[in-house]
Amino acid sequence: MLADMIQRLFERSLGDAAQSEAREGKWLPALWAEVEEMGLPLALLSEEQGGFGLAPADQGEALRLLGHLAVPLPVAETMAANRLLAEAGLPLAEGAAGLARADDLTLADGRLSGTVHRVAWGENLDCLALAVGNTLYHVPRSGWTLTEPGTALNFHPRPSLAIDWVVDASAPLPHDPLAEGATVRAFQIAGALEAALDLTLEHTATRVQFGKPLQKNQVVQHELAKLAGELACATAAADLAAEALARGDLRGVAAGSLRAREAAGNGASIATQMHGAIGFTREHPLHLFTTSLWTWRDEFGGQVFWATLLGRAAMAAGEEGYWPMVTEL
């Protein structure tokens, strides 16, 4: 149901023109208004929290769709930030929101200050769900100014924010925003990879070389099979991360997030190769997905951060404990 609504909304209101404005770093206020009207920012909340009370599978599907449609707005981030704020009992966002962790911020005389690096659409947010140590803050837009501009590989803005704010909304941290963000990104990656596979199947069926569709060549078929394998892994990885997040198991979040990050790179390169030169242009939609895959795989804690976390857990488990640990993930 929600999936159908999301699909219809963006198919109707998100066209090439909007995508290229977003690539110039321009905010899309009309589209955001539609997102709010549909209630998407609250989609991950339970009914008691004022949300949709969606089953985990439906939450996952909604998040995957945001990737599948290459939505150039921080919808997924806002959904995740609101879930975090709701769980902490803090006020929800009244517009778009970001989520971040920044442990080197300083708190003195009730004033929080320091820099939060590379926040998606930082200029256009209503608030930030910000973790410092074990505390979550609801930092309103008036609490920061932009310092350095930043740009993601899909050309969406990632400015750094100078926080200078007298704390008036904080609570114990319910769970880590990096884990929340990494999980959401895993779903978006799975969605974008599915779009990449769709496009690659279509392209290799219609593009004729040597008198036959590309797809009739066995090497091409085998690359498609590998791409389908990466997609299967990314989809399972996102679900695995989400289940681990719900249990508060960072090792499982790491496992799911890492495999999705890896699939993003592997899948994007197969899809691009199978498209030939057209896949390397802005004329063909594939780039919306490949550039987003390359963006998302390095956000909310990098590959090294999550891989060392899981690697440390594996070393601690050792010869005897390794397999039992794997069965818990």
Binding site: K216, V220, H222, A225, C233, R259, G311, A317, Y322, V326
Partner: protein, 384 residues
């Protein structure tokens, strides 16, 4: 939307969790004394004693009807036993093939008499099976089979050669894929399956084929006018192709398709201990993430089997992606720890690494090669 769907596996029930604990204790009791090198043999290990103990404890034929010695448990309970066996490096050779594919084929296609005489023996861990598919001129192209079985009164007279038959020298039966009419040019038509008693078939000779590591696990089976009782026909004469495809689906659907080198992972952790820098930790983390996700996909296949859905395509993906994991593990290990692998050493890491390097090439061949699997997946995507 082109994704090949993998249903989310259910969380482990209390029964499944209890079974996992029980079965780990069973493995410790029976196999606790084995060395890492022995454990790394994985399914090349063949132990009648261990298989009988598995049967006695109710760990074989788990999903089969009680009437045939089975235990009517769920696909997930069987999954636990299968994955824990492999993760432990248990010597599963004397029951593996029978429990995974021969028994299920007999349940699906066999006569009442075949079911009654054979299935209880498999469930008790007393009857071992082999797979009689490949031939010198028929590998990936199974429909090119030449082995001929000609009906002669109440026997079939079988002539031809099968190769790579794992455990033919130890097992009690093979299910033989052969041609009961026509010629290899007829392809799928005219093929059948026969239950061949390996201990009692005059005219059958079994010769070892030694693999590159010097091991004897597979064989050549030569049939020279060998008489196989006609009542040993499995299923319908002429229906061999459908039946053998179904047998392959059983063969490919298990979780063993990524755990073959798991002992190396355990030994790698120990070999790294004390010198693990961030790069090493990150590599271990990445490998662990890949493994965890493979396991989830594999449990999805179990969920599909439990729901009686056709999981052929999903199983092909798990086997394809899984074989890459188990096969490339030694290369990652070699980037982290220097050791000259030695097949005869008692040192855990160097010995296990040697065994894994020797055996890894086979994992993308047996049970359908990587190329054949990718062809199956591509067909599932609608390209062929």
């Amino acid at each position: 939307m082109s994704a090949i769907p993998f249903p989310a596996p259910p969380a482990d029930s209390d029964e499944v969790l209890a079974l996992r604990g029980e079965f780990r204790a069973f493995l410790d009791k029976h196999l606790g004394h084995r060395s890492p090198r022995q454990r790394s043999d994985n399914w090349y290990g063949f132990s009648r004693d261990f298989s009988r103990a598995m049967g006695q404890a109710g760990y074989l034929g788990m999903t089969w009807p009680k009437q045939y010695g089975g235990h009517e448990r769920s696909a997930f309970e069987r999954y636990v036993v299968v994955e824990e066996s492999l993760a432990y490096g248990a010597p599963v050779g004397a029951h593996w093939i029978a429990d995974r594919q021969s028994g299920p084929s007999i349940i699906k296609f066999g006569t009442d008499e075949q079911k009654e005489t054979i299935l209880p023996g498999i469930a008790a861990g007393k009857l071992a099976f082999g797979i009689g598919m490949s031939e010198p001129d028929s590998g990936s192209d199974l429909a090119a089979t030449r082995t001929k079985a000609v009906r002669d009164g109440d026997v079939y007279r079988v002539t031809g050669t099968k190769v790579w038959t794992s455990f033919a020298h130890e097992a009690d039966y093979v299910i033989l894929f052969c041609r009961t009419s026509g010629t290899p040019a007829d392809r799928h038509q005219g093929t059948s399956q026969l239950l061949v008693n390996l201990k009692d078939t005059p005219g059958l000779t079994i010769k070892p084929i030694i693999d590159l590591a010097g091991q004897h696990h597979f064989n050549e089976m030569h049939f020279e006018d060998a008489a196989v009782p006609a009542k040993n026909l499995l299923g319908a004469e002429g229906d061999g192709w459908n039946q053998v495809m179904s047998e392959l689906a059983f063969e490919r659907s298990g979780p063993e398709r990524f755990l073959s080198s798991i002992e190396l992972m355990y030994q790698l952790l120990e070999a790294l201990r004390g010198r693990e820098d961030d790069a090493a930790l990150a590599m271990i983390g990445r490998l662990t993430a890949q493994l965890a996700v493979l396991r989830r996909l594999s449990r999805s296949v179990a969920a599909m089997l439990q729901a009686k859905e056709n999981a052929g395509l999903q199983a092909a993906i798990v086997k394809d992606v899984g074989a890459v994991w188990e096969q490339t593990l030694p290369d990652f290990a070699r980037q982290l720890v220097d050791a000259e692998p030695d097949p005869r050493t008692a040192a855990a890491y160097a010995g296990v690494l040697a065994n894994i390097v020797h055996n890894a090439p086979s994992w993308s061949l047996r049970g359908g090669t990587r190329e054949i699997l990718r062809g199956i997946i591509a067909r599932g995507l609608g390209t062929r």
